[in-house]
Subunit: 230 residues, 2 copies
């Protein structure tokens, strides 16, 4: 069956930076599934009306429509059980915790680091919408959320357990990457795609891991267009 | 075979508060294993010389000697495979990350909350040793580390992903507690045993979970002596 992913794009249609879409792209690559993407922009709600959803990722697989990145990962495990991404039982519970750790701790620190870069990466027609929705969420102006130095310092501290984990194994999930790796990578790829500045120190095990992640699955992420290519 | 756990005790021999020993006690209870404990105090290095180790927990199982709480949990899974605690493969990797999250994030915030309570709970003969080693580790006086208000605020923020997880399932590992639950519980039991003040708000899902954890496995933790019983 044909798989289609509705994927956020920026001021250049090739610029794809949504952390939630990147999770799914890595999961699709992990499963070895072919798919096409439909570039989507923030205000194009009509394009997703068929899914009764307002944001991406949205995945269609034949007649099946799945929304929400984590639900899509779960769907892929059920529909294509070879090479589990999230797993089942205790394994699933633990990666569900990891998802919450990424979303509640790491992603806010990354947003603080690249808030203005994101605004710059977004299509000019979407910037007012982006500013309005994000400023409502944070209760302050984007310029005040944006504090790259503080964001990077927070990130360094928050990633302490990740750093220690990567001293023990090349990927978070072991010898090969899996669900936990894709969840964190999605968020870091988001910032990496739009920012000119490095997120972590060059000698940090997290940086070494990020570089490995850019290369896995035929370098699907490493080949992606970033702000530095435009 | 007879199992013995060398377990830190406080100013009353019945007061057992080591977070690392509590992990192991919960793991032993999870496996339904009988064991005896040997109360141990910080400076009693000679008692552990047989293990070539300087701190507790140390577990002996017949002729086998195992040191380090996480290694003991792993040993129990290998020696008694029924009802895994940590699990294997991806499941193990993910709980290893969770251990690092607890140790690098949660435990320091708890120490900040109960540093002076801990000093009070320890045997008077051990207090100079405790102060000296901990002050060297933190690079400041215990009185300056100790900041319960700030510690509780940090804890509230750090536990955000735990809180969300517990909104989805009664235990971190699902319908029944397992490795991740024991790792976090050990640290929280440490603070709960020595402090008169609540650690988290009464309506917090983390508090509800903690109360459930006190009751599991015949309330092995709920029946333990705390500072409030002395």
């Amino acid at each position: 069956m044909a798989i289609t992913l509705y994927d956020l794009c920026g001021r250049d249609e090739r610029l794809r930076f949504s952390p939630y879409c990147w999770r799914v792209r890595m999961a699709l690559a992990h499963k070895g599934l072919e798919y096409t993407t439909v570039p989507w922009r923030f205000r194009d709600k009509e394009a997703l009306a068929f899914a009764d959803y307002e944001k991406v990722p949205v995945l269609t697989d034949g007649d099946t429509v799945v929304t929400d990145s984590f639900d899509i990962m779960r769907y892929l495990d059920k529909a294509y059980p070879t090479k589990p991404i999230l797993g089942e039982g205790v394994s699933y519970q633990r990666v569900h915790f990891f998802k919450l750790y990424v979303e509640r701790s790491v992603t806010p620190a990354l947003f603080r680091t690249v808030a203005m870069d994101l605004l710059e990466a977004i299509h000019p027609d979407d910037r007012a919408y982006f500013r309005e929705t994000r400023e409502a969420r944070f209760g302050m102006r984007l310029e005040d959320v944006n504090n790259p130095e503080q964001g990077r310092a927070q990130l360094k501290q928050l990633l302490a357990p990740v750093r220690d984990q990567l001293r023990a194994s090349p990927f978070l999930d072991g010898e090969v990457p899996s669900g936990a790796d894709y969840l964190l990578f999605g968020s870091m790829m988001w910032a990496y795609t739009v920012s000119l500045e490095p997120l972590v120190d060059a000698n940090d095990p997290v940086d070494e891991w990020f570089k490995r992640m850019l290369e896995v699955h035929d370098a699907v992420a490493g080949k992606a267009v970033t702000i530095r290519d435009l």
